[in-house]
């Protein structure tokens, strides 16, 4: 299932930026929980069973961040118990939990970003604005698999010449370094040839055209508007002070005024948008299949 991956890159970029900005800069428990749930569902929809492998890592991280905060921060007015003469406060514990939720939420969204925004989309978006850097980036990305292959070849050749590496660390480092140095002169010679070929084909001349497979459909426009609208609501909320939430010295109450609920609903909708799209796509797909 990758319904979200077929949307126009511009919409995807806008979407990720708006979710990441809200989840990075707003320290509000409701919004952060929404971002975390959205991130979990999105990653689960993207990766399926593979996503379950990382649960252990995220749980450990969650505990580490949540538990260590009250150990290092003694602000707050409600002591739960004393540790080495330092109070462990309820406020610090809750703040630790919120930090853990934020940290893991952002990590999951970054992961989804990596899955969706492949390098070709990135280059399509920024190729016009930063042509040279994006060319360097795409060339480097293309070189790495080629270099990996070549380095395996070099290492095999060196083995055939009788240059074995032992088990000890110094031996392993020396061996890798030898392969690496051989790689450098090969790759630079190769690079110079490529640049000559680029020059021969007229790199840097005016009138160059681009080709890309991405088309901006009406549905992309609708999604872009929806995304911007849903993003603006929490921003307005922040401007009006609705999303202000402090833990020290005492934990604030979560606001339940109509305006606050609109903000929560808007961001909840934004965070769940890709998951909703994936589910909708799956339902449509099953519908079509059942008709066959």
């Amino acid at each position: 299932m990758k319904a979200f991956a077929n949307i126009h890159p511009l919409v995807e970029m806008t979407y990720f930026m708006s979710v990441l900005i809200v989840s990075m800069f707003f320290s509000h428990p409701v919004l952060q929980t929404e971002a975390l749930i959205g991130g979990i569902l999105f990653c689960a929809a993207l990766q399926g069973k593979k996503a379950a492998r990382d649960i252990g890592f995220y749980l450990t991280l969650f505990l580490m961040v949540a538990v260590t905060n009250p150990l290092f921060s003694h602000n707050g007015v409600t002591p739960l118990f004393f540790l080495n003469g330092n109070p462990v406060t309820l406020e610090a514990v809750l703040y630790g939990v919120l930090l853990a939720v934020t940290v893991i939420g952002v990590l999951l969204w970054c992961k989804a970003y990596g899955e969706i925004m492949t390098s070709d989309k990135f280059l399509y978006l920024f190729g016009k604005a930063i042509p040279k850097l994006s060319l360097v980036l795409s060339m480097a990305l293309r070189f790495i698999p080629a270099y990996l292959r070549q380095s395996r070849r070099v290492s095999r050749a060196q083995k055939a010449m009788g240059l074995y590496s032992g088990k000890s660390i110094t031996d392993r480092v020396k061996n890798q370094a030898r392969v690496f140095i051989a790689m450098i002169s090969w790759s630079l010679e190769n690079a110079m040839e490529t640049s000559a070929s680029m020059k021969a084909r007229g790199y840097g001349k005016k009138g160059r055209t681009n080709f890309s497979l991405f088309r901006f459909y009406a549905s992309d426009g609708v999604l872009l508007c929806l995304c911007l609208l849903l993003f603006m609501i929490p921003i307005m909320g922040a401007a009006c002070g609705i999303t202000r939430f402090t833990f020290y010295p005492r934990v604030d109450k979560i606001e339940t005024t109509p305006a606050a609920i609109v903000v929560y609903a808007a961001f909840g909708m934004l965070a769940l948008l890709p998951f909703i799209l994936e589910v909708k796509e799956a339902i449509v797909w099953n519908c079509y299949r059942s008709k066959i």
Binding site: M24, F25, S27, V65, T68, N69, F72, S73, Y95, L99, V103, V106, L107, C110, K111, Y113, G114, S119, I130, P131, K132, L133, L135, V136, L137, M139, A140, L141, F143, I144, Y147, L148, S151, I169, R172, V173, Q176, A177, V179, F180, I181, M183, I184, S185, S187, L188, E189, A191, M192, T194, S195, M198, K199, Y203, G204, A238, R244, F245, T246, F247
Partner: protein, 224 residues
């Protein structure tokens, strides 16, 4: 015009971000503010690079040095924290100048994190490796002549890099700077700091001569 943009970033945009960050977010979310600052600090070099008319040779040279340092990070995966990236970035900047060093460093961070995990720490690594390369380029003449100085630079770079990343960890875990946590993290990451520093020194000393020879040869042969 573009020059003014880079000055503007340093003189206006970065302080503006810091001030907005402290005013808008009462919980003092330094992590995200510092993230924006790290990104903005990379921009002037990037803009400068875009503005100049750079020929294809230099472009592709930076691309292949970047790919090589990423490859180094991948090849040495079995040994944790023992990576030749900093050494390669410094050597690049010694022979091809500060700008090439900064670009190689920061692009290596972006690209290698496609393998090692992209995250909010990417801008810090970008700036960290970038600035280590930049300074290496400024010291190029001296570093080329003295191996002791080179080793010293490698060691200091390793320690600084680790200490700076630890500051980021504190921001990230605390939302604000917490000295006791910083000291705790510094102490617990001491082995890594040591490996960073030692690996930088080893790789710089090991690679400086042979790679330097290769780079000099390429420079002469292709007229860079």
């Amino acid at each position: 015009m573009k020059k003014w943009i880079s000055y503007g970033i340093f003189c206006l945009l970065i302080p503006a971000v810091v001030i907005c960050g402290t005013v808008l977010f009462p919980a003092k979310r330094y992590a995200w503010v510092s993230l924006c600052v790290a990104l903005l600090s990379c921009l002037p070099v990037f803009l400068q690079f875009e503005r100049k008319s750079v020929d294809a040779k230099r472009l592709i040279l930076i691309a292949s040095m970047t790919a090589l340092s990423v490859l180094g990070r991948i090849l040495f995966t079995p040994i944790p924290a023992f990576k030749p990236v900093t050494a390669l970035v410094v050597i690049t900047s010694m022979y091809f100048g500060s700008e090439a060093g900064f670009l190689t460093g920061s692009l290596s961070a972006v690209i290698s994190n496609f393998w090692f995990g992209q995250g909010p720490w990417t801008p810090f690594q970008m700036f960290g490796w970038g600035i280590l390369g930049f300074i290496g380029g400024l010291l190029a003449k001296r570093l080329k002549h003295s191996r002791i100085l080179l080793a010293l630079y490698g060691a200091i770079a390793g320690v600084l890099y680790s200490a700076a990343m630890d500051i980021w960890t504190v921001f990230w875990a605390d939302g604000a700077f917490n000295l006791s946590r910083y000291i705790a993290i510094l102490a617990s990451s001491l082995p890594f700091t040591a490996i960073y520093a030692v690996s930088n020194v080893i790789f710089l000393l090991l690679f400086c001569k042979p790679i330097g020879k290769i780079l000099e040869r390429v420079q002469i042969k292709y007229g860079l």
